[in-house]
């Protein structure tokens, strides 16, 4: 594999990473913490993202903010959002409540990030 330049998105420090080597043994440089190493390996092979967004709540104008409990494959972001748009949350909701479990078979749950009474 060619030397690949990446920007770590795991935290706002935005470290510039380089990944080199072949599939079985990839070397990562430029990361300031282990999360960057992990990110670079996954980004080089199969990019993953946390999904954050909003969804409707029955009978209430204010939307509920949600996130996935772990990263899901980047190419599934839009499809996951379609799934989320299909349902409406029911108040009351507490931050951390699971709204959709195991979305698209990714193993990640969609949880509320705020409480609505």
């Amino acid at each position: 594999m060619e030397k690949q330049e990446l920007i770590c998105i795991m935290c706002p420090r935005s470290c510039r990473l380089t990944v080199s080597g072949s599939d079985g043994s990839l070397a990562v440089e430029g990361n300031m913490c282990p999360r960057g190493h992990e990110y670079a390996l996954s980004e080089a092979v199969h990019p993953m993202r946390i999904l954050t967004g909003i969804m409707r709540v029955e009978g209430i104008k204010e939307p509920l903010s949600i996130k996935t409990t772990k990263m899901i494959p980047k190419e599934l972001l839009l499809r996951a959002m379609d799934e989320i748009h299909k349902v409406k949350a029911k108040a009351p909701v507490k931050a951390g409540d699971i709204i959709i479990s195991d979305i698209l078979g990714t193993g990640a749950d969609v949880v509320a990030t705020k409480s609505i009474k």
Binding site: C11, I54, K74, A95, K114
Partner: protein, 425 residues
């Protein structure tokens, strides 16, 4: 009107900065605290930041803005720190008296031993960046779009062109795509993005959104509602090149041209302003020219990381606490001026007390260009007091360098911060 209330520490603004100063002041022994917030809840701009990327330094967790704010709201409730919502501060005077109004209590005058200014920022609007054309519906700022979508639950358009590449615009570009809105383009006047590199990556590149650098929107068309914009490339003198004009159809123009600190109150009190940072001129304790009045967070200078806002706020609160408790050395023996040299933007703080009260002075600024293999230096005359290397720097990211207090004590100044390296705009 007479003073209606007295307090030790008064905090204006209940965003990340205001809330962290309150928590830290409490932890430093201050009990008589009051936060004044004009909105109907605490949190400031974090309330509408539903995306993740907050709190990694502070909590070692990747939180959404909403969750980050909740951590502080919980602490404020745990400590029973009083706060007043829907309370608009309308005047501040240099004898530390604040005039404010709130629907239930009407007009109040509150006197404090110390005041922390934490009023945050507001957005630059179309008028600030001068785009000619219609005044129809469909033109709004990124922060307003974010509020509509995330707090009020309504989608402001079907196809959008984003003017400017500040972080709020980038974050909103991604959210629009996820909500099924078409993002036609990001138009940036500078040769580089004004936002964090990670946001360029995960909000723009991830979704293949076109970005036009060195370009500007030269016209907005449409009768009642926007229906298209004209985009031109700019020449070296930042003037549009007419032959490059390109029409893009869209029903919404979203402006993300950066933030302006809300310093009306600061100016009313006659507090000295820094002509370079546009915030209050503060020393290494973030104290303004009026002893006992401090400033921190986005109202002092625009931050991109809430973690650094919290850190700055906590330090500020420690100094405010020692001022209130009478432990701060307020004697004045002159100041060391802090200047921005080659490659560096305005620096906060802009002066350091000669008998420095801190263990070290943290200097913050933005680089003027994108750099590779950069070196940041802090010099006193020809002496280098601090040096820091970095693989890459960009104006979208604030730089921080700290200078040990003992190196500064007694120095005459000025201190000059500069950046050298390979420019790669």
């Amino acid at each position: 009107m007479n003073i209606t209330k007295e307090t030790d520490l008064l905090i204006i603004g209940g965003g990340a900065a205001g809330m962290s100063t309150a928590v830290s002041a409490y932890e430093n022994g201050i009990r008589d605290i009051l936060i004044l917030e004009r909105n109907n809840s605490l949190g400031g701009v974090l309330r509408q930041c539903i995306h993740n990327g907050f709190g990694l330094h502070r909590f070692k967790e990747d939180l959404t803005g909403v969750e980050f704010a909740q951590r502080y709201i919980d602490k404020i409730k745990e400590y029973k720190i009083p706060y007043m919502l829907e309370c608009f501060v309308i005047d501040l005077s240099d004898d530390k008296v604040v005039t404010c109004v709130n629907p239930s209590e009407g007009l109040m005058k509150i006197k404090a031993k110390a005041i922390i200014l934490a009023m945050g920022c507001r957005e630059r609007t179309r008028n600030n960046i001068l785009i000619p054309g219609v005044r129809g519906a469909g033109i709004l700022t990124a922060g307003t779009a974010q509020r509509y979508l995330n707090l009020e639950g309504y989608i402001p358009g079907r196809s959008v062109v984003i003017v400017g590449s500040g972080d709020i615009g980038l974050i909103m570009a991604r959210q629009f795509v996820l909500e099924g809105v078409e993002v036609k383009a990001v138009v940036e006047i500078m040769p580089y993005s004004g936002g964090l590199p990670r946001n360029m990556k995960q909000c723009i590149e991830d979704f293949g959104i076109p970005v036009y650098y060195n370009s500007s929107v030269t016209k907005i068309s449409g009768r009642e509602r926007v229906n298209s914009v004209e985009v031109c490339r700019l020449d070296e003198n930042r003037r549009p090149i007419p032959e490059t004009a390109m029409k893009i159809d869209c029903d919404t123009v979203m402006i993300s041209a950066g933030l302006i600190p809300e310093n009306e109150l600061t100016e009313q009190a006659g507090i000295e302003m820094s002509s370079s940072t546009k915030g209050a001129a503060v020393d290494e304790c973030n104290m303004t020219s009026v002893p006992g009045i401090f400033s921190c967070g986005n109202v002092l200078h625009v931050h991109d990381l809430v973690d650094f806002v919290a850190e700055e706020a906590e330090e500020t609160a420690e100094y405010a606490a020692s001022y209130i408790l009478g432990n701060m050395d307020v004697s004045y023996s002159g100041t060391i001026e802090v200047l921005n040299g080659e490659g560096a933007g305005p620096v906060v703080p802009c002066r350091i007390n000669r008998n420095i009260r801190a263990e070290s002075a943290n200097l913050m600024f933005r680089p003027r260009n994108k750099y590779r293999d950069a070196v940041i230096t802090v010099k006193l005359g020809s002496r280098i007091l601090a040096e820091q290397k970095s693989i890459a720097l960009t104006p979208g990211e604030m730089c921080r360098i700290s200078v040990a207090g003992d190196k500064l004590s007694g120095a005459a100044g000025p201190l000059v911060v500069s950046v050298t390296g390979t420019i790669n705009n």
